[in-house]
Amino acid sequence: MRVLALAGRRLAASLPSLLIILVGMFLLLQLAPGDTVDALIAQMGGGGDAAVVAELRAFYGLDISVAAQLGNYLWRLVRLDLGFSAIYGKPVSTVIMERLPATLLLMSASLSFAFFFGLLFGVIAARRVNRWPDTVISTLGLVFYATPSFWFGLMAIVLFSVHLQWLPAGGMESIGAGLTGFARLADIASHFVLPTLTLGLIFLAIYLRIMRASMLEVLTLDFVRTARAKGLDETRIITRHVLRNAMLPMVTLIGLQAGTMLGGSVVVESVFSLPGLGRLAYEAVVQRDLNTLLGIVFISALLVILVNFLVDLVYAQLDPRIAKGDG
């Protein structure tokens, strides 16, 4: 019950910023020259006559003033209606729901990958600080962090898909293979290996650096010395005492990054032809599909609020003092 009350308070506090984001986004897109009918005509290659174009503007609700369009949008939003997508000719909520699975899968897979290995390598680097394992791990981390993800993705495709033919070059699953059950899961997993690695390696670099620094800091604290004085063995000190305290910055970071990744990764989704939210948002901007773009912003914002709420709950688990302070 206390958790629910907290959640409700959080949501209420986020509403004003949500409104500002949506209205700002709406107005920002008005500044871009051209509307969704121009984008459609660009796709058609011209030849539309004036009457048809006027009819299209009316069809997409662009024949009224900007203020009226904004008013209509907000009024629909109050009734939890995200409107109709110009590009897809379907309700925006349906379009987003179709794209959400790929994004969530990619995001959770690459975040877990980055979190787990970042933790592992961060601990190893901290325990062997300034010796060769630390140097190797830190250098590799820097290389991954500095490599542009599109290049990394393309090189992975060239190596693993074109030359070795181990993994598919793109897409979410084998098209029309009619797989079910476990075979289908394995098929989807094989399609997600390369995108997960491409996206995850960049985050891995960040996590391992944070983890290493945080470990080194905690290792110098008094309670660690006490634990050592008690005669505990080193592994037990690391897992029971140091790790738990060193995790706090990692959890903060995962909360922040989950938000960024929910918007999807345009680059990774494009390179691997995944139907995610990032590509959808990009397309919505290029095609001036306001409803879809605002819908994505709205859903992403809600998810960010949710993730941050969960992060707060995890904080309380890791460090009981935080929960008391929050009271």
Partner: protein
């Protein structure tokens, strides 16, 4: 340096030239049944029904599912498809189509003249881009019986123009699907139903489209393929990698990067060719805003043309897939292509002299004046040409500021707001100059119609020639009129069209019977097969 580049280009030329030879060898083989064709689908469209939208992005899918009244044969002449024969009255006011019998829609209902009547009046005349202009004088389509459609025009319609336009602008939709519905919102727009060799199965947005063999297709025992899968791949390098991995067998309409195309062209597994795309010729444009008094002066426009070394640009940046343009009608259109038209060769000294004579002396830093250049955001060649324009004009003292916008922004800024000095993009030639070429020159185009005369050009003589040619019924006299048109266009130079290009296909060599007609990428692929 120059030598190696030349040699590289020569290699790709040799590959392009040799493509006909293996094709002839394949003709001896027995076609194999079955297999799945996979196609690179670069830009998703809002609809897939070619009766409602005329663009290559729609034909690449819808053209396999729906069929036009008339198609083209291997030599580019009109060939029967849903219409078996046609005739025109001598005055050009009535054109009669005899329709094929025994054709059924994918849902089993018979195809009749009522479908043609409905599509022509409700779609081609009212909604279809380019169709609305082509059919604006179509008064009625009469259906004396189920297999005859009589088109009645209020102004003479040249039969040749109609037949050349119909392969693109003559796709038929089923009346029973669309009648009494809001055509723009009909679900069949993204799940098309037709009479074609392939039946629509599934469309997952952002991922793929699937169509399967139509077992009751009217061409007996065809098609050979079991399935077609279109894969949505927006990243061009990723698409090239998928071609190499064998996940995609065909990338149409120059959708890959130029560097990847020339690389694949050297790979024995692939063929990179303009063959099969002759019906999709385009010219690069340099569009002048005549509302700018500097550009309203013909001496300045001619000087700009003389200032650019187009053969150098083509040789070094576009290679053998482009050639020097000679005017608005490309050389791929033998029925209309005129020779001996006025041209503007590269002559920097002359350009400088002409600008001096026009009264634009060099000022501080050698600059005569500054112009804004808006490039269209499609096509790598446009981006390269934009830089080339900027650098060439700098040499004659014209400073060029490049204004880059995305598709919607470009169209709005150039063709609606007229907020530009120079613009560069493509003019798409659609088999007959009356379809999408003369509109670039004819005055009186409504504001905001892209790829039409939005340049402030009013040339009474040009208008007269264009109008006369549009209603000329005699093919020889029509050709002569279009020769007058090109001569006038090249003399007055309201727009310059200095480069001619044809789209490139990248094709896996396992495919047989491909690229065998001038609009193959758009065509139905009923005879395409896949070697094991």
């Amino acid at each position: 340096m120059d030598m190696t580049r030349r040699r590289a280009l020569a290699t790709s030329a040799a590959i392009a030239a040799s493509v006909n030879l293996p094709h002839m060898a394949f003709a001896q083989e027995t076609p194999r049944r079955g297999g799945t064709m996979t196609v690179h689908f670069a830009t998703e469209q809002r609809i897939l029904n070619p009766s409602l939208q005329a663009s290559t992005g729609v034909y690449i899918v819808g053209g396999k599912i729906q069929e036009p009244l008339v198609d083209l044969d291997g030599a580019g002449n009109p060939a029967p498809c849903l219409a078996e024969s046609w005739e025109s009255t001598p005055d050009g006011m009535t054109i009669t189509f005899r329709l094929r019998r025994g054709v059924t829609w994918h849902d089993g209902r018979p195809f009749t003249s009522a479908d043609v009547q409905f599509t022509a009046m409700e779609m081609w005349k009212k909604i279809l881009n380019y169709g609305t202009a082509l059919q604006q004088f179509l008064d009625a389509v009469e259906t004396p019986d189920a297999h005859t459609a009589v088109f009645r025009y209020s102004r003479p319609m040249p039969l040749n123009l109609l037949l050349r336009a119909l392969p693109d602008l003559g796709y038929v939709s089923a009346k029973h699907i669309y009648e009494g519905t809001d055509i723009r919102q009909n679900p069949a727009n993204t799940a098309p139903m037709g009479t074609g060799p392939f039946r629509f199965v599934q469309y997952e947005r952002g991922q793929f489209i699937i169509a399967e063999r139509n077992p009751t297709y009217w061409r007996e025992n065809l098609p050979y393929l079991d399935r077609i899968v279109w894969r949505v791949i927006t990243d061009r390098s990723a698409a090239a990698a998928q071609m190499e991995a064998g996940q995609v067998l065909y990338s149409p309409f120059s959708s890959l990067a130029l560097a990847d195309l020339s690389r694949l062209g050297r790979d024995p597994r692939f063929e990179v060719t303009t063959r099969g795309n002759q019906g999709n010729a385009r010219t690069n444009t340099l569009e002048f805003n005549h509302r700018n008094p500097i550009l309203a002066d013909i001496r300045v426009r001619r000087a700009i043309a003389h200032a650019m070394n187009i053969p150098f640009f083509i040789e070094n940046f576009l290679g053998d897939y482009a050639k020097l343009g000679t005017g608005p009608i490309p050389s791929t259109s033998p029925d209309f292509y005129p020779t001996g038209m006025p041209q503007y060769g590269f002559d920097r000294a002359l350009a400088n002299r002409m600008l001096d004579e026009a009264g634009h002396r060099r000022g501080a830093g050698g600059v005569r004046f500054t112009l804004r250049l808006n490039p269209a955001p499609w096509g790598e060649d446009i981006a390269l040409f934009t830089t080339f324009i900027q650098q060439s004009l700098q040499e004659v003292g014209i400073r060029v500021e490049i204004v880059r916008l995305d598709a919607a922004g470009f169209l709005r800024t150039v063709y609606n707001d007229w907020n530009f000095d120079l613009a560069t993009g493509w003019h798409q030639y659609r088999n007959d100059p009356a379809v999408s070429t003369t509109v670039w020159y004819r005055s009186g185009s409504p504001r905001g119609a892209p790829w039409t005369n939005q340049f402030g050009v009013v040339d009474a003589e040009l208008d007269t020639i264009i109008d006369g040619a549009a209603t000329e019924l005699d093919p020889t006299r029509r050709k002569a009129r279009y020769e007058d048109f090109v001569r006038r266009a090249n003399t007055e130079l309201p727009i310059w069209m200095p480069i001619e290009q044809i789209f490139l296909s990248a094709i896996n060599r396992r495919l047989r019977n491909h690229s065998n007609m001038p609009r193959w990428g758009s065509s139905s692929w009923h005879d395409l097969w896949l070697a094991s």
